[in-house]
Amino acid sequence: MLRLKSTRTVLCTLGALLAGSVLSSAQAAGTLTIATVNNGDMIVMRQLSTEFEKAHPDIHLNWVTLEENVLRQRVTTDIAMKTGQFDVVTIGNYEVPIWAKQGWLTEIKPDDAYDMNDILPSVRESLTADGKLYALPFYAESVITYYRKDLFQKAGLTMPEQPTYDQIRQFADKITDKPNQVYGICLRGKPGWGENMAYISSLANTFGAQWFDMSWKPTLTSDAWKATLNWYVSALKADGPPGATSNGFNENLALFASGHCGIWIDSTVAGGLLFDPKQSQVANTVGFAPAPKGPYGKGPTWLWSWSLAVPVSSHQSADAQAFIAWATSKDYVKLVAERKGWVAAPPGTRASTYAAPEYLKAAPFASFVLNAIKTADPNGPTAQPRPYTGAQFVAIPEFQSIGTQVGQTVAATLSDQMTVDQALTSAQASITRALRQSGRAR
């Protein structure tokens, strides 16, 4: 009898717990749910967002921090199914034009006090579709070359003002010291459209290669692509760290910061991390140079921005727009500078940030970043006319899967499972198939 009573008690308690959980999950009016990634700038935004709540006592902020790929999947599901779980989403300039065309994003219309003209034009344009703005940039990045000044000095080398890829290869050969675990060059090798293919697409542009011709036929078996991949594979095999296929942005950051890389070509956002002695053992010896140029020399250039957008499924669009206007404003940059120091100011979005002498003093890499982002042109001309936009990606929905698939094939060349020719032929066939299936190509 006692046992029966206990069973009932357990069931009742359980029922109460579950019912309580349903009730507590009902979203309160005036609560904005913000989906974001976990990186330094976003963490600072979250910490300082109490200031926004103080200024808007009727708005409460609810944060959901997710790993980048999980965030993309969750937000896509949420928006596509119009669930309305998120009021503000953190997305990149790859997603913005695609999602805007799908009708998933609300047009952003900040008030006059926002100073839209202060946003760097290249960044602003990358968040615009059909003349309408669909997101506001939180921070932006392009690509630069990091190198170890001490290793260059020891080898009697000087980094030119505008290096070429031939020069980079020669420098890497000279400073590689494998017995002491110093590798001449570190590049992204981890397969993924946002990992190795972000770098390789950018490399291909300056080598005169491109993904598609005007009839959406892939051009991966072209000589320019072969030259691109030959340079990449031979450089990493000769002068790169072991296990390069496991190295993405973070792994290379760790390698460079712990003194194992001589040259690293990657996102400008690493500048702040490499310059911080708390995170970098080489903070005093890091040098900066523009991204190298290949035989073509021109072509679209890398531009990425983490931006804040409002999905159409949000029921609190006005409050959400007020929040993203606050988080991307000039006043917010000043607030970060006051509380966290100028070096923590979100980079790459506002001209006024780079006009502040305090910022230029705190971040010696600032002028390189500004120049890289100002001159970044993701819509720039490729060697032959192209039907798509984007520099380190192709701005079509299929690119996530195509890019990752080709990324895996490229990684196979690094691990000697395929030759460059085999990899490109295989990539050409798989892309052709994927585009036929999606109906983009015949």
Binding site: V22, Q27, V37, W63, E68, T77, Q85, F249, S258, Q279
Partner: protein, 275 residues
């Protein structure tokens, strides 16, 4: 001679057992070790075994996220899903073990076959169902999915334990005038308690560590510890120390619980109900 061979075999088996145990435990050991390193130490090459420990990663984890909110959600979901699953599985396994029909075996196999489907295959329908029933981002929704996911295994395990209970004992109960309910709750359950306890513990561990549905069906209110861990993975920046600290905090309760109850778990899994 025979004794000598037996002793050396025992030593060999002991060494092999310890070797496998240490090999299996090494990732957890390394995770705990990394959680006490600074971010620079965490990424150092070659990896450091000896270093000055710091609690900075734990401090940052507690500063950035409300650990207790995630932990409470995990407890509610795991305990809730396990309790409901056991409550449903006991009568199911009881009827299959003591009143089998010609379709019992087929039903058991069919139930198990649902485990063979990759979860992502049913993500969209389950997401839509959860949305339409307002169960998205609720502990109830997640507990229901976890419960249904683990139910086939629980029924199978309980069925196996119940089959070991001699039918004459239940018959004796009936002879004394016990109803079906009394027979199940007052005769069968006490006899099969070690098996039920180990099944419940296994279900608890499976629910605690479940990540796919947690990440897809919850966002903030009902997010459990698996979502807490995922939030410390960073696309740009050093995060191994913080991620290790978050993972250590997430697995610590279930690890301790597992250690405390391992005797019961092993006994339940190996000895059966009445042996």
């Amino acid at each position: 001679m025979a004794l000598k061979t037996k002793t050396s075999t025992q030593i060999g088996v002991t060494i092999l057992g310890w070797g496998i145990a240490l090999w299996l435990f090494f990732p957890i050991f390394w995770m705990i070790l990394t959680s006490f390193k600074s971010e620079v130490q965490a990424i150092s090459t070659p990896p450091k075994l000896f270093f000055m420990p710091t609690l900075s990663s734990y401090a940052e984890v507690f500063e950035r996220a409300n650990y207790w909110h995630f932990a409470l959600n995990t407890v509610i979901v795991s305990v809730g899903a396990t309790a409901v699953a056991i409550a449903l599985a006991v009568p199911a396994a009881y009827s299959m073990a003591f009143m089998p029909s010609k379709r019992t075996r087929g039903t058991l196999l069919w139930m198990l076959s649902t485990r063979m489907l990759p979860p992502v295959g049913v993500l969209v329908p389950i997401y839509i169902l959860a949305r339409n029933t307002h169960l998205l981002d609720t502990c109830t929704g997640l507990a229901i999915v976890d419960m249904l996911t683990n139910l086939p295994i629980i029924v199978w395990m309980l069925y196996t334990f119940f089959r070991e209970v001699p039918a004459p004992i239940l018959e004796a109960g009936r002879m004394d005038g016990a109803t079906r309910w009394q027979e199940m709750t007052m005769v069968l359950l006490p006899l099969a308690l070690p098996g039920i306890a180990s099944t419940a513990l296994l279900s608890l561990i499976l629910c605690w560590n479940e990540a796919f549905w947690s990440l897809n069906l919850t966002s903030s209110h009902a997010a459990p510890l698996t979502a807490f861990i995922a939030s410390f993975s960073s696309p740009e920046g050093l995060f191994f120390g913080k991620l290790s600290a978050a993972s250590t905090l997430a697995v610590a309760p279930i690890l301790v619980f597992g250690w405390i109850s391992q005797k019961q778990l092993v006994r339940g899994l190996t000895f059966g109900a009445v042996k």
